[in-house]
Symmetry: C2
Subunit: 369 residues, 2 copies
Amino acid sequence: MVEFHILARDGGARAGLLVTPHGEVETPTFMPVGTQGTVKALSQEELEGARVQMVLANAYHLYLRPGAELIEQAGGLHRFMGWERPILTDSGGYQVFSLAPLRKVTDEGVRFQSHIDGSYHTFTPERVIEVEHKLMADIIMPLDQPAPYPCSEAEAEAAHRRTLLWAERSLRHHEKLGGGPALFGIVQGGVRHELRRESAEVLSDMGFPGYGIGGLSLGEPKPLTWEMVEVATSTLPEERPRHLLGMGLPEDIVEGVARGVDMFDCVVPTRYGRNGTAFTWKGKLVVKNSPYAGDFSPLDPDCSCPVCRRYTRAYIRHLFQAEEILGLRLTTLHNVYFFCELMRNMREAILRGEFAEWRREFYERYGVS
Amino acid sequence: MVEFHILARDGGARAGLLVTPHGEVETPTFMPVGTQGTVKALSQEELEGARVQMVLANAYHLYLRPGAELIEQAGGLHRFMGWERPILTDSGGYQVFSLAPLRKVTDEGVRFQSHIDGSYHTFTPERVIEVEHKLMADIIMPLDQPAPYPCSEAEAEAAHRRTLLWAERSLRHHEKLGGGPALFGIVQGGVRHELRRESAEVLSDMGFPGYGIGGLSLGEPKPLTWEMVEVATSTLPEERPRHLLGMGLPEDIVEGVARGVDMFDCVVPTRYGRNGTAFTWKGKLVVKNSPYAGDFSPLDPDCSCPVCRRYTRAYIRHLFQAEEILGLRLTTLHNVYFFCELMRNMREAILRGEFAEWRREFYERYGVS
């Protein structure tokens, strides 16, 4: 189980402490994504060095490979990965609906083909809880069905109802298995106010120890995204942590924090890093591009991470040109540092009661308004 | 310039100290290969952690990309890479003759096409020295022409004469440029005793501060390889360091040390690592293979490297299956540790006067005779 303590409020933003069986997490927090039990290109030592507090892994991927039983034999995902800080496992709802080539959804569950070998599998809410209990993360997510964007009223309604039905069954099965990890509820409802609100209300009544907000940033206009987040955060119980699933550009995180989100995960820092884009306090920098060929300054002169203390843009650009692994490693590592530092800065500003000023100054430097 | 001090002899083996402008190197030593200015998949921090004392980079590759001028602008290869320990640059002779798609060799030099973009370039001995002076490694190698295996008497003779001619011109040009790095001579001569001996004799008379032994392990029978090494080491001046170029299976290194070789470089630990093979004290282990799927022991239970202290065969095997970068990173890092430890063990055995026993015990465990 987890506990959550709110230490300060500043406008809609909150600074808190999430207490898990594997240690405390200072919120707002960002968790890098370790889909297959590894944050792509980085080692666990590097994550620790970057002061990453928690990582997210995907039950869908790990169920398919290497299999939940193998990880159970290892003593759980922490032992398997050699990572002793907190872990959250995503249920795979989003993955099944975005990656699996063939799928059939009924109220019972979803039958799908593996994106790896085409084999057939069925996820029911109960089966997913069982898989996640074998993985033994600190926080687990129930099977859900995000509504695609755009979609018809009927589709949105069906996905919403089914997500609530599955949440109920997940909770029941989780309790039957004796608890253990903390099971969060996931607010869905697409981009429809009334469905989002109902989703948040029903899940609040079920009494989860925390809540995911899912199914956003799927193509809808950004103002609509934030309306939906606000509907959720204003409806969910104040004292429970909220996790905005899968959204993580720096500006997304800042806006999420402003609206009372406590937890974030996203592939942004790692995927952008592998593709040769660094995040800096002055915006994104595509280091693999030719302007940096002779630039002997660090990725971000305002950053004190080990990458910026030792390596230059010219060297990293050369590594990308030469298709050397170290190039994407260094850019990814810097990005993860940047995201962790971003979260710490926001948290400190909230604790000081200066989040609004911090946010304005951040945008002045970073260049997004 | 470099100095070399022999601290102990044990049979044919020697333990010494190579003093370079970037610090001391304990010999016998192994240098991982950083062809393009990076030891593939590893960071400079990891190399330091593995107690790597020196790395080898390739003038041929760096000349083509990013260009010697850019590295000169950075302040030399050490500054460019962010690596403050010693570096040796290979001249590119071997690379031109093995990688470049089209080439024409005359006594003047070699005209070749870039393996990257097909552009035409000419390497003369003087040009290569100029390139290497821009890179500013601690030890540099002259342009040479390895004889292919097998080859005719006439071919062998021509490559041999040209290598000596080029060595003379390289030395003259190096001196004209005012020295700086230490220029080694490279003993060639294919697999012919008389050519090898003459090569070693002529180069010895020229008075290089150290010697490479090149053009071996190109397909000739192993006993012939070692005969050629013995011809070289018994002819070269005792007090100068000898570098066996490009050979580096553990058994090659042990046999080279037994015959008086002080320095080694090879892609073996890194290339094998990327391909999922770990070196252990009990021989090679193909960790990506299925027998290790459920094996929760470290790569080598007798190893105390950071990889073996934290990660299991099952996890690393999963990472290879899932095509995750961390899998090849961990296996490469372990291998580089293993090679460094191998060198330290040999050096200590030589200093104790117990190299023969050490060698016998090594083979008993490692399983090669």
